[in-house]
């Protein structure tokens, strides 16, 4: 365990050292790339606030901005899951639904969420609804596609077993197909939450006036590269944590599967 941890932090520490050296030795243009220490100081002040408020407009606002972005990601992600999972189940299960809906999903899917930005702002304005639309849409595709795949991979023998035990369509869908598709659904959810964090930054840079994406763009305009880098770290950390949370949830719900892998 300790050895694994040591191995895991080795490369980040080396990169950090390289970064510090590059700034100190002026291998990079001075004033453009901040030093790790400078980023750490700014980040710290951004989180806990400084002695005088006037020093920095960002002072002490980190948690509030994290809350803005986090809430948007959560709302958009839940929306995507609530629509995407049932829709994926039906597309995978029912040929009629598949022929009706699947072509549209496949046709719209290649449109990047960044391309939806002007449309979202025009329709929803510079409000939360814009961000929610973009995040939800971005997370929706991997969730619906992976759910559909999971459903189609359901073992025919298990379907027969359920039928001969008297299960009707509804019971088969909830007790067999959904359960069997869950590992795939979790893959979709993990991809979805990753896209949700991408989408929230894009949306906040342009379509709303709060959150980490907004801070990132704002800091760039006023030349606060230290805050930019601190924001990048923040988003990375939050993305990592939300992915771990999903993985943890999957491990609890899919306990039978970890047994299978080890047995």
């Amino acid at each position: 365990m300790a050895r694994r941890l040591a191995l895991a932090v080795l490369l980040p520490l080396a990169l950090l050292a390289l970064w510090a050296t590059a700034v100190q030795q002026r291998w990079v243009v001075e004033g453009i790339v901040p030093s790790p220490a400078q980023v750490a100081r700014s980040w710290y002040q951004w989180i806990v606030g400084g002695p005088t408020r006037s020093l920095s407009p960002y002072s002490g606002t980190w948690l509030a901005n994290v809350a803005y972005s986090g809430r948007r990601v959560l709302e958009g992600f839940v929306l995507a899951a609530v629509v995407g999972i049932p829709l994926g189940l039906f597309i995978g299960w029912n040929r009629l639904v598949a022929r009706l809906v699947d072509p549209s999903v496949q046709l719209l899917r290649p449109v990047p969420i960044t391309a939806w930005l002007p449309f979202a702002i025009a329709v929803f304005g510079i409000y939360d609804a814009s961000a929610l639309f973009l995040i939800g849409l971005g997370a929706f595709y991997p969730i619906v596609v992976n759910t559909t795949h999971g459903v189609r991979d359901t073992n025919l023998l298990l379907l027969r077993a359920a039928r001969m035990l008297g299960a009707g369509e509804a019971a088969i869908l909830t007790k067999v197909v959904f359960r069997s598709a869950l590992p795939s659904i979790f893959t979709g959810l993990r991809l979805g939450i990753g896209i949700a964090w991408t989408a929230v930054i894009v949306a906040e840079m342009i379509a709303v006036k709060s959150g980490l994406g907004y801070v990132l763009w704002d800091a760039y305009y006023v030349g606060r590269m230290d805050i930019c880098v601190a924001t990048m770290f923040s988003v990375g950390l939050l993305g990592f944590l939300s992915d771990r949370a999903l993985q943890l949830l999957a491990r609890v719900i899919l306990r039978w599967r970890t047994l299978e892998a080890h047995g």
Binding site: L157, L158, A161, R163, M164, G166, K175, R179, R255, L259
Partner: protein, 264 residues
């Protein structure tokens, strides 16, 4: 015994279309399984005996002919015609107990109605203490016990068994055969049992239908007049060996014919 046979196939034909070619799997099969009878269908692999079972289960429909259950046509799968598959086909996300009670739970009966019955079957098939295990934690034999228990609790009119012990090692297979004999003694459960193992068919069944290689036809129907209750020792008796010789002869004729007349 009065009333229609529990299962009856009347001149059943089955064709499959594979890659634009039509392949005959079954030709003019007629079999009846009476109530409380243990009937075995014995045939080489690929003779269509699983196809036959699938049609009785309602997974598949005949190309021609009629498949009857209690005198009425079979249209769809039904818990009264419960199946034990060659692979256990357990739901890996449910525990042993949840697998066994799957059918009962989909019937929406309250647990108070079936708890005692389930308990008795768990005991009977030797799964006591494993109720909260997941299938992944069980051996092949244990999995198949769950596969048997989950259909026995449904109290089916006929138990359809598709080479249920085919993938088990010899030791476990013997144990499972003894278990099945014990179950049969207790309930006189009507069984249609498909196998390619001559000894297994003779040990377990009251009647054995010997099938030909593809396309499958029924070559001969034998009655196994060995006294019950039976145990594995019966396989060493002279009468058992006489029966076995007879079946072996039938099957040898068949393999010679198949070798001389290869499929197109």
């Amino acid at each position: 015994m009065s009333g229609p046979p529990t299962v009856e196939l009347i001149d059943v034909w089955k064709e499959f279309a594979t890659g634009g070619r039509r392949v005959e799997a079954l030709q003019g099969i007629s079999v009846a399984v009476e109530r409380n009878e243990f009937a075995a269908i014995l045939g080489p692999s690929g003779c269509g005996k699983s196809t036959l079972l699938n049609m009785v289960a309602g997974f598949d429909a005949p190309t021609r002919g009629r498949v009857l259950f209690d005198g009425g046509p079979v249209r769809a799968p039904d818990p009264r015609r419960a199946v034990v598959f060659q692979e256990p086909a357990l739901f890996p996300w449910y525990t042993v107990l949840d697998n066994i009670t799957f059918g009962l739970r989909t019937r929406r009966q309250p647990p108070s109605v079936w708890r005692a019955k389930v308990d008795a079957f768990v005991e009977l098939v030797g799964l006591r203490g494993f109720e909260s295990h997941y299938p992944a934690e069980l051996s092949g034999g244990m999995k198949q016990r769950v596969g048997i228990a989950r259909v026995l609790v449904m109290e089916p009119d006929v138990l359809l068994m598709d080479e249920p012990f085919g993938s088990l090692d010899a030791q476990t297979r013997s144990l499972m055969q003894e278990l099945l004999l014990a179950v049969w003694e207790r309930h006189h459960q009507t069984v249609l049992f498909v196998t390619h193992d001559i000894e297994e068919a003779l040990l377990l069944a009251d009647s054995v239908c010997v099938m030909t290689a593809r396309p499958g036809r029924i070559k001969k129907r034998l009655t196994v007049e060995l006294p019950r209750p039976r145990s594995l020792e019966v396989t060493t008796s002279p009468f058992f060996n006489e029966l076995k010789r007879e079946v072996l002869g039938l099957i040898r004729e068949e393999s010679v014919r198949a070798a001389a007349d290869p499929p197109p």
